[in-house]
């Protein structure tokens, strides 16, 4: 479904991704772990189409389509969803209005009819239950005055509403207490299906106790330096990243 090959990217004069290659099959859950500053969030931003980053080499295809040719809106329409590490506040715009606009915009671009008010509300209800999102939060302005945990739950709520084909979770566990972590993970897990893939970006292993990945990759110095099964996460938790990063360095030298 998603194929990233030899991706190089920079912001300003700083090169952040230096030949990243990664492939993700339909229905698979991949975790990307790595030390701070390794380029994890950059990868998430580039997948979603943030224009601050310049891709200098390499390619990304999504279902055979050149993703780099699409702008952020088109990627969302194609089914890519990014759960932001720092969800943005939009004062005066209610969560519900925001979502209905988003949903209908996507449907319009897919040449589908807008969702009826009734269906929309039913869907809101179902999805909100999934992440135990308070009714009040649905009516409040997008992310405004939300706690850290509420923001992350709101991200997963939006994901459930928009039903993406590929969901990229950027450090969704950061700033969550254990209860919120459980709720968010439950939301994600119940969305796992044979035709939906997940790219879970995290610094800590604990999220992967809840969202069990099929594959784990280590991102360091702008490249995937090591890949393995779900047990790799535990190994990383125990030994840190240095052994892989060092081994990689030795290998390169």
């Amino acid at each position: 479904m998603l194929k990233i090959e030899n991706l190089h990217a920079r912001i300003g004069d700083t090169e952040i991704l230096k030949g990243l290659t990664l492939s993700l099959g339909t229905g698979e859950v991949h975790a990307i772990m790595g030390p701070n500053g390794s380029g994890k969030s950059t990868l998430a931003s580039i997948l979603a189409g943030r224009e601050d980053y310049e891709v200098t080499a390499g390619s990304i295809t999504f279902d055979g389509v050149d993703l780099l040719e699409l702008d952020a809106t088109e990627r969302a329409v194609a089914g890519i969803f990014l759960a932001f590490q720092y969800p943005v506040e939009i004062p005066g715009v209610s969560n519900i209005n925001f979502l209905r606009t988003a949903l209908n915009s996507i449907r319009e671009q897919r040449e589908e009819a807008p969702i009826s008010g009734k269906d929309f509300l039913a869907k809101v209800k179902a999805c909100a239950q999934l992440v135990e999102l308070d009714g009040k939060l649905r009516d409040r302005s997008v992310n405004e005055g939300f706690s850290g945990g509420e923001k992350k739950r709101n991200e997963v709520f939006q994901m459930a509403m928009l039903e993406p084909r590929l969901a990229v979770l950027d450090e969704t566990d950061s700033g969550l207490d254990i209860d919120a972590l459980r709720i968010v993970s439950h939301g994600v897990n119940s969305m796992r299906s044979a035709d939906r893939s997940f790219l879970v970006i995290t610094h800590y292993q604990r999220l992967l106790d809840h969202i069990v990945p099929d594959h784990v990759h280590v991102l360091a110095g702008g490249r995937i330096v090591h890949s393995g099964g779900k047990e790799l996460a535990l190994e990383l938790e125990e030994k840190g990243y240095d052994w892989i990063v060092d081994a990689q360095a030795t290998e390169q030298a």
Partner: protein, 482 residues
Amino acid sequence: MSAAEENPLLDEFTRKEYEFGFTTDIDADTLAPGLNEEVIRIISKKKNEPEWMLNWRLEAFSVWQTMEEPEWAHVQYKKPDYQAISYYSAPKSKAPLGSLDEVDPELRATMDKLGISMEEQKRLSGVAVDFVMDSVSVATSFKDKLAELGIIFCSMSEAIQEHPELVKQHLGTVVPVKDNFFSALNAAVFTDGSFCYIPKGARCPMELSTYFRINEAGTGQFERTLVVAEAGSYVSYLEGCTAPQRDENQLHAAVVELIAKDDAEIKYSTVQNWYPGDAEGKGGVFNFVTKRGICEARAKISWTQVETGSAVTWKYPSCILKGDGSVGEFYSVAVTNNAQQADTGTKMIHLGANTHSTIISKGISAGNSQNSYRGLVQIGPRARNARNFSQCDSLLMTDTSGAHTFPYIETKNPTAHVEHEATTSRIGEDQIFYCLQRGLTEEQAIGLIVNGYAKEVLNKLPMEFAVEARKLLAISLEGSVG
């Protein structure tokens, strides 16, 4: 979704270009350009006015001649040549209009294009409409129904003929002839406008609405609106404005006077979408308007405005809070794009005790435009326990536009409490990206963010207007993020 939201007529507003830039090909009776006593006599005569009205105009004209055009606003424009303007242009009609059916079909078509077809309006929302084209009131709907309640809603010319005592008693009492350069000019040459009288204790059952339109080339529009709400009455009044696209600047210098007697309430809402000129600043309407209301004891006047049009706007809808316990409100969204300039705000003059006022102003600057808030809050020595709260926010869309705030706060009573806050911020790239990631287009994203920003004000508009205004905001700002 409300019925109004699905109203196909209002979809007119979703078009990208300045949609109202058509001219109506109607045989118009237009006076040669120029201004002198003779012209004023002709206007007065054409309108078959009584002598007191003519004298009032002539006096205004002599005052105007001694006055100078104000220069203190934060706007730059080439002053109009007042001798190059035609001061009277009326659609020719053979006889006074008896009913809507007698209205010129071309004119009806114009109204339809504006989305204010009276039939539709009647059917959909029960809004009574007075339609002023160039200078003359063309038709007023729902008159009979209102008459049952003793409410008078008619054109100003008609009011001068039919209700001279009411007009004489109130005209110029809130905005005196000498008030300023433009109000003096208006007093001398105004050709029509709306008159509205709500008798004691009456609650006007429907929104009253006026649509203003400048049509003839080289004409000015000088309408005069007078709303009198007797003790304990209530009225909500709407005003919409459009003008065709023309290369030269057109002048609009209106005067609006509101009188709210004891315990009365007047809500006055404006959606101003005069032609703003093209992207280079050619053409567009000069909107130099004086709007002021006076509140007697416990009365309330609420101004709500959505300003998206005009090349230059100079406008300060104000409240004189004369009576104890009276309330003034001003809610404004002003959008400037391309080369537009706006200097707008309000004056809250607290004279009585326990008077309260609220000012919420949201400016949005895009393109190369300049957008200024200018407001005065004045607490007089007798205004014990007066309260004011002002919030003036500016949103900047480009680094080539300007956002300015010039509040004047004058307090002469120690029991008063006055609070003013202002912030300036930029439309956030991260906000837009967040929306894009959720599948919104950039235009939708900007529309959504801007409407969210202006929500406090838009919520004050009557329903039908709010929908229109939201769309207008989005259209005005399309493709404007720097």
